[in-house]
Homo-oligomer: 625 residues x 2
Amino acid sequence: MSERREFRDLATPEEARSVVEGLDIDPGTETVALADARDRVLAERVDAALDVPGFDRASMDGYAVRARDTFGADEAAPETLDLVGAVHAGERPSVTVESGTAAEISTGAVMPEGADAVVMVERTTETDGGVEIRTAVTPGEHVMLAGADIAAGARALGPGTRLTPREIGLLSALGVDEVPVRSRPRVGIVSTGDELVRPGEELDSGAGQIYDVNSYTLAAGVSDAGGEPVLYPHAGDDFDALEGLLHEAADECDLVMSSGSTSASAVDVVYRVIEERGDLRLHGVAVKPGKPMLVGTVGESAYVGLPGYPVSALTIFRTFVAPVVRDAAGIPEPRTATVAGEMAVDERYAEGRLRYMPVGLVEGSDGRTLVYPVDKGSGATTSLVDADGTVAVEPETDVLAAGDAVEVTLFSPDVRVPTLLGMGEDDPLLSRLLDRIDRPRYLPTGTDDADRRLREGVPDVAVLAGPERPDEPGVELGDWRREWGLVLAPDSEVDELAALVDGDHRFINRDGGSGLRRSFDAALERLADERDAAFADLTGAIDGYDLTAQANESPARKVAAGAADAGLGLRATAETLDLAFVSLGTERVRVRANPDRTEKASVERLRTLLADLQAPTAALSGFDT
Amino acid sequence: MSERREFRDLATPEEARSVVEGLDIDPGTETVALADARDRVLAERVDAALDVPGFDRASMDGYAVRARDTFGADEAAPETLDLVGAVHAGERPSVTVESGTAAEISTGAVMPEGADAVVMVERTTETDGGVEIRTAVTPGEHVMLAGADIAAGARALGPGTRLTPREIGLLSALGVDEVPVRSRPRVGIVSTGDELVRPGEELDSGAGQIYDVNSYTLAAGVSDAGGEPVLYPHAGDDFDALEGLLHEAADECDLVMSSGSTSASAVDVVYRVIEERGDLRLHGVAVKPGKPMLVGTVGESAYVGLPGYPVSALTIFRTFVAPVVRDAAGIPEPRTATVAGEMAVDERYAEGRLRYMPVGLVEGSDGRTLVYPVDKGSGATTSLVDADGTVAVEPETDVLAAGDAVEVTLFSPDVRVPTLLGMGEDDPLLSRLLDRIDRPRYLPTGTDDADRRLREGVPDVAVLAGPERPDEPGVELGDWRREWGLVLAPDSEVDELAALVDGDHRFINRDGGSGLRRSFDAALERLADERDAAFADLTGAIDGYDLTAQANESPARKVAAGAADAGLGLRATAETLDLAFVSLGTERVRVRANPDRTEKASVERLRTLLADLQAPTAALSGFDT
């Protein structure tokens, strides 16, 4: 078995697709109430069991007549007919229209016996006991004959029809209140790994626990594809437990997916289960992300083993599994889930496997769609939401150059290009500004990265902090000031920067690319100058200078959690978390825009929001809540 | 009040749109479980409450080391470190990595204290009690730092974000199991009219009853737009009952829609309710279909009165109301719900109102999308499914000529152009053939109409029956024969055509455009010739010759129901319904294809199915089931 684990013979993506398509996950059929039939797929043809309308129906308000009696009538020479009564919608006619007579009739009412046409009320005048007809009508005029809409026995809807409001309308007209539809394929989801904890439960990070991302993510993906997800309790690496779960899921579902089960230890269990009760058809596919993939059967159920990393699991699910679920559910592939764009930057990749490169989209000038790679490593979950779709990069393509045309397969047809792409410093006030913009995307990559990316022309705006440099890219859109310094435990004795350097304190720094870190280093440089010491001597003296955190609040949170004595941060954060604070300065946060995109509506909106900050009432207008 | 009912001042469509947009249907917010959050819209920003990952995590299988200890190591000069233990995913490290030591580590495991990098297993060799390191690593290599994916305090998802599998993935990673989302707007649906019966209940056609089409249709439309439909029992024209229902619905819903309430009597009730408890803002809009439309408020709820005819009600709902429901639900307008096409035929219309013309689509040669009007009168429900979308025809446009470019707004982004458009004769064998084609559309318009439309180049195929004419359009794809004649009550004494003419029998004919009717008339011509009588004398002698039914089975069904003694029909139908049958002949049903489209896949498929019919095993292959 061990040689299998080495994925020696990776299948090509086409082979993998064909093996997955060969799985039988036909869920059969069921009957649902019409009220629940929306988006379901008809399992069999529905013929009309009755005529619609079920009777000859007046299609105008007016008078039911014998057409022959009106021949020759016009404005100049009206015919007068005797009025024998009236018929309203929803009642059985109590009159018969003989030659020379007429009955008042409402739209939708049953044509009374004898009548074969309706004269619309506008062309008549009621007289004493009679009605003057001022136009001739032909037999059938303003009458919808029984069955004219659809006749009993006629083919109404074919098998495979998806039931949208329109089809539900026709079924209603036919009086159908129960509909034979394809069942939704039941897809069992088993996540494996001792480290997994369900969202909402307590997490012990120190013991390496992480939240189970794949269960709910895949469940939502299954629902999107028209399947019915069934979540099983997550299996640890306990062989018997995993084996039991796989058996249970296989008995209850049309398809079982496990994720994380491509790890060596879980694979052993899956192999054992498949060898006892099924058939292994594929192990490993030459694609990134997602190389480890298992396809086979367990009992009567199909089985697919997905990688454990969420981005990999979702990519493999979407690319290979969702089409098969959709097909079994009878739901067509969504239309127009691709957009054409051009690379915003160069991207090099030479691993010789088909790569589904996650990309983000941004609207460039002239309405061009620019495409930039989003790759934070397959362990990252934020790349799930920071990307809009994928570009399939063929194994032989090593470089995509800026400006190259690419086709992006969107994650769903509902994906929209974000209105605003921002990058740069993390900041609590910025977060509140972003809440006031419709569908922005903001990547808190820090000042240095945002500076570089704005020069490359990728984002709409860069948010820069820390010491100002003379040649910052783009044009300034607005700014605000923030006070920064040391965030400290409430009982800390640290009262200035020197105390941090000279004392014995556990410190947490910000990462090198952040503006705050650059401001901190500048303060340390000044202190080194004052002391005539080397910068490295000071940083070496701070326990934790090299321990960095990614987000603006992170060091403060470590302090609040007791994991550190001091952290680099903002006064605003210290106040929010009820921590002590030693100010080391104030820095200006600059929002700088891509010069080609200052007219973009979202950039204008941000400019307005920034201008509002300067207004004296800004503090009252909700920004500081 | 009466002048209001006359719709004197119709609003323009723009005015109507603006009045509907002015309604307040904001449904507020609620909290849902993560498992139920798919497709919901975030009501507020979600910030990360914890670091992801929550610990410094090994991203490779290998050995956790102090990077400094590996400096200078390479294949030629490996460093050997003492092995102090192992750390697996999901466990708390029990070892500390001091200088000169290493710990075995699995992907996903917590980095042990002291270690700052991972050497991947492929670049190591385990020795007795130690491990040989054959490469240098830098601090942080193959380690994902705590918070590197997303750090505690960072902005994760903004308000207004629609929750797709990706966002659900990120929320899972953050351990969020309850999500604040916008509530779905509750939309109450009240159908009015004494004649309405809910699908599934008994229908009394003679009393003018019809099934309520609008309730379920609009409910499905509301769900599509992200709202939550609430069906109320249908109101008759009883003033008090309707008033009570409107009050109840207004108390319980964000928006109340009534349909059919634009009739004069119902309007009086609606006016009274609105005058007592609300505000009437609009009555009547210059658009077809759908002129009668009411917009206002009832109590705290918004109110829209829709026309009663299903096509009109759904058009007005889609055009004016759905965007507002979608907006309140926070769901963006679906993308690409339009296609460009060209008119297949001329269409004249000169009523001076904006018209949403229902159209069907067919793929012409060269991949062109041809557009043909579908108009069976606004009372028809089949036009709901025979159309794919609408073309907005401006009031000043009187004529659209064949070849004119038009833009079609699809009923939904999921609408696909039917693979096959057929028109012509209604036939039970044909129905079964169509079941074997993926998404065909077949309009049983009869032989004469199909002949004309195929000459115009609209359908892919025409199905013709009745006496053959020398110049039938298109190219023949295949055929079958069917035996036709008189379908009779089991105890009928009619044994030949002459008996029908000479006796006193209630007969039901087929409509003039059907091939069967032409065959019947030819038989009557021959009988007239034999008797040296006029054709009209014979037809005049048949009681019901002018009573026609639309579908092939309809006359037979009337006979089966006792509503007639004899009907024109097929032997197959008589057998299905256990009726007597007098044969009057056999006719050839010809399937003729548009010469430009014989290569179309669906046409090829139909050709194959027709060829299979001729095979000796056809009767066994399911066609006759």
